[in-house]
């Protein structure tokens, strides 16, 4: 990490140095010396749409189709470890992040900006809309429905489902509604349910935490960390990918209020 830091520092120094010298030294002119704009020049709706398509091709394998993270960082919170200013995001995508698995993305500079426009959108979904329901009434629905047994808001709640502390910032209304009515439509990799059928006949259900050819690890429905050697496992099934009950039959008013409550959860940046 320390070496990576030094490399970055040196790289930063060189970039600045070259940029400063470029006007005097034509030999150094070229794409590498073009200054990086302070603000993303590609932010139109069509840029965002193009960015989304590029994102699905180049980024979703690690960051998830919905930006929810997995092997790569969660991009839905609008918080970026290696810098959240446009030029910093640009550098992370353009050059990769040394010392991590994040590799440079091989697209044109303009397309890098378009991807960033989409990533920005990912990180602010919930900020763009207004929910029609009553958040306070929705809070009671949340409590009554037992959501906290699996989900956590701030320090209260369980670990089986995604944390909801800032879900209203991360997710738009459509996503929230879908997740409640048809939970299996959008499942982050980290929350995919798995059924481990043991040779003894027992089936253990939980969230898959890890797996390789010889073992599988999961968080069972009682929130215990479990591990099984594949030699003891008859079958691993993914036929019910979400452990979340579907709330399609919920009173529509309650559902609207619940969505409004979830939408009101913006966390603290």
């Amino acid at each position: 990490m320390r070496h990576a830091f030094w490399l970055l520092s040196v790289a930063g120094f060189l970039t600045v140095g070259l940029s400063a010298q470029a006007p005097q030294n034509p030999a150094l002119a070229g794409a590498a010396t073009a200054p990086i704009p302070d603000v993303n020049p590609f932010t139109s709706e069509s840029d965002v749409r193009a960015g989304e398509a590029l994102f699905q091709t180049h980024c979703s394998y690690c960051h998830g189709s919905f930006g929810e993270g997995g092997r790569g960082a969660d991009l839905t919170a609008g918080v970026y470890r290696h810098g959240g200013r446009d030029p910093e995001l640009y550098a992370s995508v353009r050059n990769g992040i040394p010392g991590t698995e994040m590799a440079p993305v091989r697209v044109s500079d303009d397309d890098v900006w378009r991807m960033i426009a989409f990533v920005r959108r990912l990180g602010s979904r919930g900020m763009l809309e207004k929910a029609p329901g009553d958040p306070e009434a929705g809070r009671l629905v949340y409590q009554k429905s037992g959501c906290a047994s699996c989900h956590r808001i701030e320090s209260d709640g369980g670990n089986l489902g995604p944390e909801l502390t800032d879900i209203g910032r991360r997710r738009g209304l459509k996503f929230l509604a879908e997740s409640l009515v048809t939970p299996e439509s959008n499942i982050a990799v980290a929350y995919r349910a798995v059924q481990v059928v043991l040779k003894s006949g027992q089936t253990v259900t939980g969230m898959r935490l890890n797996r390789d050819d010889v073992s599988i690890q999961l968080r069972d429905t009682r929130d215990n960390l479990r591990s099984f050697l594949m030699q003891n496992v008859a079958e691993v099934r993914y036929d019910k990918p979400s452990l979340m009950p579907a709330y399609a039959s919920m009173n529509p008013k309650d559902l609207e209020n619940l969505i409004a409550y979830l939408h009101s959860l913006k966390g603290t940046l």
């Binding site: 320390r2 215990n224 591990s227």
Partner: protein
């Protein structure tokens, strides 16, 4: 023999019991911590038990079958620093810290990752010897870690989510503070030490409420104005006197006493401005864990001039001494002597050198074992190379181990000398302009460098530094000391002075690893090497043992790997 058989039966029973619990999320209560020795399938605190024995009752791996030991899995840290951590194992889950304060939860059977927690330190931290961390403490279902930037963190053991975070101190104060040791939980409190003895800090030991993270007490290791022993520092030298608490202590529930060792006084090798005993540097503190009040202290090295920290893990033993059973601290110290100190009152009982030493001419029994000094051992401006032990001591921070079966204390000792140079005093600073080298560079004044760390950290020419003395003057040895007499019963020499500790087991084995990466198992009775594995990564830590799926495993850090061994 009877006790061996009883333990064997108990271990088998506990094996079954503990694996039934595997993954069932039973909280690690204080009662479980008190009886950690009765759960040999788990490793519940840094030294294994409050007694500091680092002894495992597991006996599946024995002197007879250890030759069949093989690697079961590796954990790849993928970092530049070496691991110094001691993992915890709770009901099939291993929790370990990575340098720079990440926590990993692993399946103890396969090493597969369950969750991670990553703490973000600032770019500049002020650790002397690498961006290290030595491990965790647990209470209930909460893990505790201290950080390089002087925070204490509580993390949910099931999910890795942060529960609270408390700032201990401004890490950029004075010459710079850091916290690298493993915390110790006593009752409902998390006891946490700090480092910076080479950076002119002012030492303390802290306790935090495990539930809330609120500070419960702070003991200043340098007496403040008006407190007893304040006058043991000349002038204002007490303000920057070091006396840090960077390793982990032990606890005696019978007397409700917390034992914690303190580091050197600052400046390390120049005492022009700090005349006096410099209390409570190079001491063991006996504290009330509820209040942080000092019960007594014993200073191993008054007015230290050789960086001979007394930060070893305290080992609590009941042993025969002059015909009586005494409750003692059995303490192989960095200054090269093995001490017996009555742990009920701090009375010095005996001391015997376990490595070559040149500085001591006996102990003053009239004055509670104050050492009598041999002239000519002080650092000099041109460099004094006639002093044993060396700067890194006869023992250092690496764990010792006590086996109640052999009644021997196992110590991985360092035989070496180094050059002690008295430099001009320059207070270290955290000003980036004044210390433009690596952010975690060591002290800038008054310290003779030359260890493995220094080569990596500040680019010192290792060949020049390390080749000053002939190999036969610098080596390591695993030794077995009879605590009652201080006599060395056997000795297993190794090529270089070690940076790893020892763990003994009921299989009559002692595990350790060398700086060249040779991980070994010795016969605990004879010291004979029965098995080894070439990991080729420097061992800067100490082994643990635990059960997974009912089978005994041994884990030990080597370089940036955690290597875990088992039988088939």
């Amino acid at each position: 023999m009877k006790s061996k058989r009883t333990w064997a039966v108990a271990a088998v029973l506990l094996t079954a019991a503990s694996w039934t619990l595997s993954g069932q999320g039973q909280p690690v209560t204080y009662e479980r911590l008190l009886k950690a020795d009765q759960e040999p399938g788990n490793w519940l605190m840094y030294s294994g038990t409050y007694s500091g024995w680092r002894f495992s009752k597991l006996n599946q791996i024995t002197a007879q079958n250890v030759k069949n030991l093989r690697v079961k899995w590796l954990f790849q840290g993928r970092h530049i620093e070496k691991f110094e951590t001691t993992p915890l194992v709770v009901d099939g889950v291993m929790y370990l810290t990575r340098p720079e304060n990440a926590i990993y939860a692993l399946d103890a059977l396969t090493g597969r990752q369950l969750w991670t927690y990553e703490y973000r330190n600032p770019e500049r931290t002020y650790n002397c010897c690498g961006k290290n961390n030595r491990g965790l403490a647990i209470l209930g279902t909460t893990l505790f870690m201290n950080t390089l930037d002087m925070h204490v963190i509580a993390v949910d053991a099931k999910s890795g989510r942060e529960l609270w975070k408390t700032k201990m101190f401004d890490h950029a104060e004075a010459g710079g503070y850091a916290a690298t040791g493993a915390p110790l939980v006593v009752k409902d409190k998390v006891i946490v030490g700090m480092a910076g003895g080479e950076r002119g800090v002012s030492g303390f030991l802290d306790a935090y409420d495990a539930k809330t993270g609120k500070q419960a007490w702070r003991f200043n290791t340098i007496p403040q104005p008006g407190e007893p022993n304040f006058g043991t520092w000349a002038g204002d030298s007490w303000k920057t006197g070091g006396a840090s608490t960077w390793n982990t202590g032990s606890y005696d529930p019978d007397t409700n006493t917390l034992f914690w060792g303190t580091s050197n006084p600052w400046p390390d090798y120049n005492d022009d401005a700090r005349t006096g005993d410099n209390l409570y540097s190079c001491s063991v503190l006996a504290l009330d864990p509820d209040t942080g009040k000092l019960k007594w202290h014993y200073q191993f090295t008054p007015h230290d001039l050789h960086d001979w920290d007394a930060t070893q893990n305290p080992v609590l033993v009941d042993t025969e001494f002059l015909g009586q059973t005494r409750k003692v601290l059995a303490w192989p110290n960095r200054n090269g002597f093995f001490y017996l100190v009555d742990r009920t009152n701090g009375k010095f009982l005996s001391a015997k050198a376990f490595v070559k030493q040149t500085w001591n001419d006996g102990f003053d029994f009239e004055n509670n074992g104050r050492p009598k000094l041999v002239p000519g051992n002080d650092p000099t401006p041109e460099g004094n190379d006639k002093v044993w032990p060396g700067i890194d001591g006869g023992a250092n921070w690496m764990s010792h181990s006590y086996s109640p079966l052999t009644k021997l204390l196992y110590v991985f000792a360092r035989e070496e000398r180094r050059v002690y140079t008295k430099n001009a005093i320059q207070h270290p600073t955290t000003d980036p302009a004044a210390t433009p080298q690596a952010p975690n560079a060591g002290p800038v004044g008054g310290r003779v460098r030359g260890g493995y760390d220094d080569c990596l950290v500040v680019g010192i020419d290792c060949n020049k530094r390390l080749a000053q003395f002939a190999p036969e003057e610098s080596f390591g040895k695993a030794i077995a000391i009879d605590p009652a007499t201080g006599t060395t019963k056997w000795e297993h020499p190794v090529l270089s002075p070690p940076w790893g500790g020892l763990m003994s087991t009921a299989g009559n084995l002692v595990f350790g690893g060398t700086i060249e990466g040779v991980i070994f198992a010795l016969n605990a009775t004879t010291g004979e090497r029965l098995w080894y594995f070439s990991s080729n990564g420097p061992v800067y830590g100490t082994a643990i043992s635990y059960l997974a799926d009912g089978k005994q495993f041994v884990s030990i850090p080597a370089g940036d790997l955690i290597v875990t061994f088992g039988l088939d």
